[in-house]
């Protein structure tokens, strides 16, 4: 009924207007507008209008599939949050290495038959050295007393004929010497000194911690690589799905002269938006995750007799996370869009 009416109403104008004398003027007008070809306008303007249109299209397309969009953003968020959290943990443990190294100490066991006078001279000499910040001399008698006191073995001391402990000097390397290699070379230097029977670094646990940190770092790198691929695939797949929804639009656009770039652009914007939103999600997850982990980290720090001031994500961390998300979104979208375009080649 309606269609018939419409036909009746719309059928008239072409035939009617043919007879009308003013019709040619309309045609003329059309011709004159055709003269302002877009090619004559600045390319920048066209380029900008295309980008604006692509962004609008991208947002509209995303809006039309809210659930896949939400899922994609969530998956990207989780995938980016995992390596980011590991980075946060590493970063929080790492700065305390300096503090830990300061606690590194070298114990020098003095020859048993060394004379007290020469030991005093030796200690005085150590104190003048630039690479040693602190020297503590513990005579054998004092060590013995302390040993008996702390172990509660004062009664059994008579069982031993004489003090079995050597004189010891405990030194701390200066703050400039913080890495294990330089502490080790200092130890070797001290080892060969005449009065020293044995020089021992008391920092095994520091080394263990370093080893753990290195392991976590390596793990985080491998996880990051896997997850980067995950993000690419997830975003690429969503773009592919979007593309199938807009199959007709792509075909028609190409039919009326859209370049591949024109067709690709909204998809790239969608990818960038997914990457950006995913990164934002990841940042949120990291904040929540680290806040939940803070008690555990504090506990670990307490075990190592240090304090960890939890820093979550710095501004540059946040920016680089956003950048990575955007790049991955762009990459995934690029791959998917190109495949779509090639598949739908007209």
């Amino acid at each position: 009924m309606i269609s018939k009416k419409n036909r009746g109403a719309t059928r008239k104008p072409p035939t009617e207007s043919l007879q009308k004398p003013q019709e040619p003027t309309k045609v003329e007008k059309k011709k004159s507008t055709a003269a302002t070809n877009p090619a004559e306008r600045s390319n920048l303007k066209v380029w900008l209008s295309h980008h604006k249109l692509a962004l609008t299209n991208a947002i509209n397309r995303i809006k039309k599939s809210p659930i896949p969009t939400a899922l994609t953003i969530l998956v990207v968020g989780v995938a980016l949050a995992l390596p980011a959290s590991l980075q946060v943990i590493i970063k929080n443990v790492e700065p305390s290495q300096t503090a830990l190294s300061e606690q590194a100490q070298i114990t020098l066991f003095i020859e048993v038959d060394a004379k007290p006078a020469s030991i005093d001279a030796f200690v005085a000499e150590l104190k003048t050295r630039q690479d040693i910040s602190d020297v503590e001399y513990i005579p054998a008698s004092k060590a013995w007393e302390e040993f008996q006191h702390t172990t509660g073995l004062s009664g059994s001391s008579s069982l031993l004929e004489k003090n079995p402990l050597p004189h010891t000097v405990i030194i701390r390397p200066s703050t400039e010497i913080q890495d294990t290699v330089r502490i080790e070379s200092l130890r070797k230097e001290l080892q060969v000194l005449p009065l020293v029977d044995l020089a021992k670094i008391d920092m095994l646990w520091v080394e263990r911690l370093y080893a753990i940190i290195d392991f976590v770092k390596l793990t985080s790198i491998s996880i990051s690589i896997f997850l980067i691929f995950t993000v690419l695939i997830v975003i690429g797949n969503t773009i592919k799905m979007l593309g199938q929804n807009f199959h007709d639009e792509i075909i028609v656009s190409k039919l009326v002269g859209a370049s591949d770039g024109y067709v690709r652009r909204p998809f790239l914007y969608s990818g960038v938006l997914y990457g950006f939103a995913g990164s934002c999600c990841a940042i949120l997850f990291v904040f929540i995750g680290v806040l939940l982990l803070t008690p555990q980290l504090d506990q670990i720090a307490a075990l190592y007799q240090t304090q960890i001031d939890i820093t979550i994500l710095s501004m540059s961390d946040i920016l680089s996370l956003l950048f990575i998300g955007i790049i991955l979104g762009l990459g995934g979208a690029w791959i998917s869009a190109n495949r779509l375009i090639n598949k739908m080649a007209v």
């Binding site: 309606i2 269609s3 018939k4 419409n6 036909r7 109403a9 719309t10 059928r11 008239k12 104008p13 072409p14 035939t15 043919l18 019709e23 309309k26 045609v27 007008k29 059309k30 011709k31 507008t33 055709a34 302002t36 877009p38 306008r41 303007k45 066209v46 380029w47 209008s49 295309h50 249109l53 007709d248 639009e249 075909i251 028609v252 656009s253 190409k254 039919l255 009326v256 002269g257 859209a258 370049s259 591949d260 024109y262 007209v346």
Partner: protein
């Protein structure tokens, strides 16, 4: 404007759609392409629109052999050729106006230009009042006219129409042919494939008949006077 030299097209299934076509269509000419279904009319149009590539022979458009056209120049070629199908291939997720605006957006026209051109185009096909409607609620004839409006909105040099009246009743078909004639009067070259011989009888334009992938004997063509306007 369009020149086909010994054009052959063989599909993957070894079906030979065109078996050596020689045809020339001059600028500002309007030509009817007739023949039974399967004669190769659609294939011929698709070759000119670069929707297909010939297996052999040359398709020359405005002096340029289309085979030598770089892939990045194909969009520019398509902008010069308006294509109208039997099914108007409209996008049903947007209004009539937006459908017609699409080629202009692709071409980077400003919103102001888009508005004036879309309206001029809608006016020409008599659908000015339906601009904001979704094409889904339009009748077949109206949808076809939306397709025509979309094809002419950029004012292409050439319009290729493949059975544009195939789904329409005789009265509507006549309207659309009149519309094509008017487009021809303003200098657009038209190549219209149709099997509706009854309809085109009253239009005095050159007819090219295809038969089994070949141009049928020249006696069928209309008098020379009609061939060149």
């Amino acid at each position: 404007m369009i020149k086909l030299q010994k054009v052959r097209k063989r599909y993957f299934d070894n079906h030979a759609a065109l078996r050596g076509i020689d045809l020339e269509i001059k600028a500002e000419e309007m030509v009817f392409l007739t023949g039974h279904s399967g004669a190769g009319k659609s294939t011929l149009l698709r070759l000119i629109a670069l929707l297909e590539r010939p297996s052999a022979g040359k398709v020359i458009f405005d002096g340029v052999d289309l085979a030598t056209l770089a892939p990045n120049k194909i969009p520019q070629h398509r902008r010069r050729v308006g294509v109208i199908f039997q099914n108007p291939t409209l996008l049903y997720d947007r209004s009539v106006y937006e459908n017609i605006a699409l080629p202009l957006q692709v071409n980077g026209y400003t919103p102001a230009e888009i508005q004036s051109r879309v309206q001029a185009s809608l006016d020409l096909v008599g659908l000015l009042k339906k601009a904001d409607k979704n094409p889904v609620i339009l009748s077949g004839g109206e949808q076809q006219r939306v397709g025509i409006a979309r094809a002419i909105v950029t004012r292409p040099d050439v319009i290729l129409a493949d059975e544009p009246t195939g789904n329409l009743d005789p009265e509507l078909s006549r309207d659309i042919m009149n519309l094509f004639r008017r487009l021809n009067q303003v200098g657009i070259t038209l190549l219209i494939a149709t099997h509706d011989l009854e309809l085109i009888k009253s239009f005095d334009f050159r007819q090219v008949e295809l038969k089994n992938g070949l141009v049928y004997s020249p006696e069928n063509a209309s008098p020379a006077g009609a061939a060149i306007q």
